[in-house]
Symmetry: D2
Subunit: 109 residues, 4 copies
């Protein structure tokens, strides 16, 4: 395949994008939505960034590395916010974001 | 999780989106790009449709079923076109599209 | 241009996507987030659908008409929900969604 | 509105995304597709980057500035490549990319 050396990072980004979407949608259905507002904001940015990161790596784009550097930062911020909340979807999201940040940092290195 | 009954279809769509991106990018680097033009067109539409299908299911959206019905049709067309070409990336794409079409048809049923 | 007959619908979809993103982000910063949860859900689906509709038309895709038919339905639902709320961003979003639904219905006809 | 100070850049990015999609789709239908392969690659990356840039600014995201800095670079590269080709869609794309790069550079400053 075009991009075999990026596979771990592509999978981490692709997974993180969907886990962030799940977290945002689940937060919106919690009773305490107000308390989850910052989490939802970060989930949406992180989901969109990770989805594009996966696409750029899949295309073997010249911008993949620079993009992953920025994506790692969003993942770190999202992991920190999600980690504050005890909902299962937030804890799962924090873990996916940390894993994705590590892979993106390796890519960008 | 929000969407556990959709997991097989979400994974098929998410995978198909990336395999279509790979196929389009690989086709663009083949010598016979002209012959691959229709394949690239379909890959792009299929990649974008599958990516959104995965997101809508992940969100447990009310539009997921109707969307998957349309997505299945694009996947079938893309599988047919990719299946005509002997490049490995085209054959891999045809298979991912067929698998995704089946899952989307189950979702839409 | 490739797609000159679609220009009105492309512009309506492109505008609606951004107005829905603005509405969702603004709803998340309101005091009564809980009351806005359904509005945010619909804004997100509508934004993503409209963005892809604009892209498919721009590419002169064979799937543009079928997609616009589905997009029109999401726009109608989003317009109805947004129309219930007095926030300026909701009223602006309801209007953009109605306009977009009309253009998508013309495209799909 | 949430993001009134970003309007010029949002419009430039939103427009550039669609003009890049048009250029890629038009290049794929030219006789000399092979010669246009690099143009298509850059159009796709630029379209996706500009679309996300517009969304992040529309949401008033904390990552909008950093993202626009990267987006400006892709726009500059795409403008340079498109500028080499005499097709109307390439010339129109080069102009949209230059305009977008300028707005993104102002945003990132």
């Amino acid at each position: 395949m075009l991009n075999s050396s990026y596979q771990a990072c592509i999978q981490a980004c692709s997974n993180c994008a969907l886990v962030c979407e799940t977290c945002a949608a689940s937060c919106l259905r919690e009773d305490d939505v107000k308390m989850m507002a910052r989490c939802i904001e970060l989930d949406r940015d992180c989901a969109d960034m990770c989805a594009i990161a996966a696409v750029l790596m899949t295309r073997d784009s010249a911008y993949a590395k620079a993009f992953c550097k920025l994506c790692a930062q969003v993942c770190r911020d999202c992991a920190e916010e999600c980690g504050k909340h005890q909902h299962d979807h937030c804890q799962a999201c924090a873990e996916a974001c940390r894993k994705c940040a590590e892979e993106c940092e390796k890519m960008a290195a």
